[in-house]
């Protein structure tokens, strides 16, 4: 399931990321603690040992006051740590006592207080003090290295557990993170094992609350896709179903033409009918395509090519186109569109809508019927109304109108039932409302389409 887009930093696994973060932070905190310990320990150690140095120096001074001058005494080295400590006692600038490892010269130029000096290759911490009469000068020194050794020992006790524990912690952290991410892995497994057609919602038992929004929106997406696929499937099935009849007609007519033998009139008739059948199938396909395009068009946003247009002009154009057909059926087609009425929409689609409405009125009304088309402006809306004196519709029929392929029974005119779906869809896309009722004026069907008004231009 890992996909790395070219030109994009490869995404590490969540597990690695969490682990690296966790271990990094632990190490950092630990190191900070170690540094703090280092400074603290050194400070405490310095204070303690400096105290000892001062104490030792004080003792030596005191001793010098009580012990009479007996020449130089070399104090014996009594402990294995003794070489690390050194002292010198001068009396009137004469070295009277020193430790075994002490030099003959004064260790430090500082005569009072602490100093750090370099003797041979070692650094020493030296405390110098003088007797009350300033005749006694005492130096007590201690190897700095020995202090560092103590400090290191302390630090080791802090850092060693870290070094040992870090791999253990990494292992534990890896396990913990893995456990924590188990629901995520479960989800990804479930998704990866899905059939491409499977659109049922993802169900996870004991789903963590953090994952719920993700899974919920995923399920929402599945639901939307399912609705879309279902409508697509229904459309395909309906279309296939609806195309069977014209194709059956074409097939039958061709077979009649083939079997006509010497009957030229019959062959001619059958071939003409074949042609008409092809035209009908073509028109049906066009309607299906129009509808399919409309169905994929987003409802919320107006079509991209929407412009302000004059509905009266569109109605006039369409009525002029369809008038000859009405005339051949001895119908009276009247257009009443006195003032320009501006609506926003796609010129082509609005044309299709108006054409479908007038075309339906012509076809579903008997010969000699009246068809009245009005375009008018009321207080808030631009209204297109198409009325006829045809048989009209019953309430249930009106309710079912616009279901794809629904045809009102009892009409000789073979329609595909798609016209209404197209009208409804275009109205939805261009933000108009469609209303079907009985015509007060003519007694047949009255269809009103209302657009939010833009005012008369």
């Amino acid at each position: 399931m890992t996909q790395v887009q070219p030109g994009q930093a490869p995404l590490k696994s969540l597990q690695t990321r969490l682990l690296v973060l966790l271990l990094g932070l632990v190490t950092l905190v630990w190191l900070a603690a170690a540094v703090l310990t280092w400074f603290n320990a050194r400070h405490e150690l310095d204070e303690l040992l400096d105290g000892h140095l001062a104490q030792a120096a004080a003792l030596l001074v005191a001793q010098q006051n009580t012990v009479e001058d007996e020449g130089m005494i070399d104090a014996p080295s009594l402990h294995k740590y003794a070489p690390r400590v050194v002292f010198q006692v001068f009396h009137e600038d004469k070295l009277v006592m020193r430790s075994a490892n002490a030099e003959l010269q004064a260790m430090s130029s500082t005569t009072r207080g602490f100093s750090t000096v370099r003797l041979h290759h070692d650094k020493w911490r030296v405390f110098a003090t003088q007797g009350a009469q300033n005749d006694v000068q005492v130096f007590v020194g201690e190897k700095i290295a020995s202090r560092s050794a103590i400090l290191w020992a302390v630090m080791q006790s802090v850092l060693l557990p870290l070094l040992i524990n870090l791999p253990l912690l990494a292992l534990a952290g890896w396990w913990a993170v893995r456990q924590g991410l188990a629901p995520l892995r479960k989800l990804s497994l479930q998704l990866s094992q899905r059939q491409p057609q499977a659109l049922e919602p993802v169900v996870l038992t004991a789903m963590p609350s953090e994952m719920r929004p993700m899974v919920d929106s995923l399920n929402g997406l599945f639901e939307r896709i399912e609705v879309m696929v279902a409508s697509e499937r229904r459309f395909t099935a309906d279309a296939a179903h609806e195309l069977r009849t014209p194709i059956a007609g074409i097939r039958a007519q061709v077979q009649v033409a083939l079997g006509a033998g010497t009957d030229d009139a019959q062959r001619q008739h059958a071939l003409q009918a074949t042609l008409a059948g092809c035209d009908r199938a073509t028109r049906l396909v066009e309607q299906l395509l129009t509808l399919a395009r409309l169905e994929t068009a987003p409802t919320a946003s107006a079509p991209t090519s929407a412009t302000a247009l004059d509905l009266s002009a569109v109605a006039r154009r369409v009525a002029a186109d369809l008038a000859p057909m009405a005339l051949t059926r001895h119908q009276t087609l009247t257009l009443d569109a006195p003032a320009p009425c501006t609506i926003v929409g796609n010129d082509l689609l609005i044309g299709v809508l108006v054409r479908n409405l007038i075309d339906n009125a012509i076809h579903y009304s008997p010969e000699g019927a009246c068809i009245q088309v009005n375009v008018a402006l009321d207080a808030t809306h631009v209204v297109l109304q198409v009325q006829d004196s045809g048989p009209g519709m019953t309430e249930p029929e009106m309710a079912r109108l616009g279901e794809r392929f629904f045809r009102v029974l009892g009409h000789a005119h073979p329609g595909s039932g798609l016209g209404w779906s197209i009208v409804k869809r275009i109205a939805a896309v261009s933000g108009a409302q469609v209303q079907v009722s009985r015509s007060e004026l003519l007694g047949g069907l009255a269809v009103s389409v209302r657009w939010p008004g833009q005012g008369s231009a």
């Binding site: 019959q266 059958a270 009892g410």
Partner: protein, 223 residues
């Protein structure tokens, strides 16, 4: 054979009527369910081709109404509804055959012949009365193995008589089975065709039952 065609699509209906006529059927064409039911209840059709998506009354409703009134005319449902549940419903409601559009004309003809045959308890295509043999599909007739040339009407009349062998058919019944609408039927047309058949086949091939009608016997022996 006289067939009722119920189909609302003008091009398909026209094509089926013309095509079935070419195949030797007499075809009456209605365009809505109400007319289909009316015609099937009132006239004697050998079979019916019924579209389901008919105006005024759905084909399945027509079928149900017919069967409820014990009208046993074989019905072939010809429809665009191809889903299995639709087929099952159609057959269960009394359809004798269920064909999805588009259909080959010759196949449709064969299916209709088969329906008519089964309706008359016939096992094979060939009908036989003694030494007279009639093959509806090939529209051939032979007597004692020798082919006999008949006109369309004569063939159809012989076909009806042989289908109803051993039964006496009245002149009205024969006319109903032979003539579709719009055919000018002379009052003595049937007698004329019977006369021709007797002349072309054998004088005793068709028996007259005075005051009742005509019959052919399955086991007839012609001298």
């Amino acid at each position: 054979m006289r067939i009722l065609l119920a189909e609302d699509d003008p091009i398909l209906g026209d094509g089926l009527r013309a095509g079935l006529r070419q195949l030797g059927f007499q075809v009456d064409w209605v365009r809505d369910g109400v007319a289909a039911e009316r015609e099937l209840s009132s006239a004697d059709y050998a079979a019916a081709v019924l579209d389901l998506g008919l105006p005024m009354k759905d084909g399945l409703d027509v079928l149900q109404a017919l069967r409820a009134r014990k009208i046993a005319t074989p019905v072939l449902v010809l429809t665009a509804r191809d889903a299995v549940p639709d087929r099952i419903r159609g057959l269960d409601l009394g359809a004798d055959d269920y064909v999805v559009k588009p259909v080959d004309l010759h196949e449709l003809g064969a299916r209709l012949r088969s329906l008519v045959r089964r309706a008359h308890g016939q096992m094979q295509d060939t009908l036989r009365c003694g030494e007279v043999l009639l093959e509806p599909s090939a529209r051939r007739v032979s007597l004692k193995g020798e082919a006999v040339l008949l006109s369309t009407r004569e063939f159809d009349l012989l076909h009806v008589l042989m289908l109803h062998a051993d039964r006496v058919m009245s002149r009205e019944q024969l006319e109903q089975q032979l003539y579709s609408w719009g055919c000018e039927v002379d009052s003595n047309a049937i007698e004329v065709h019977i006369h021709h058949l007797r002349r072309k086949l054998h004088p005793d091939v068709i028996q007259t039952v005075r005051g009742v009608g005509y019959t052919m016997l399955r086991t007839q022996v012609l001298a």
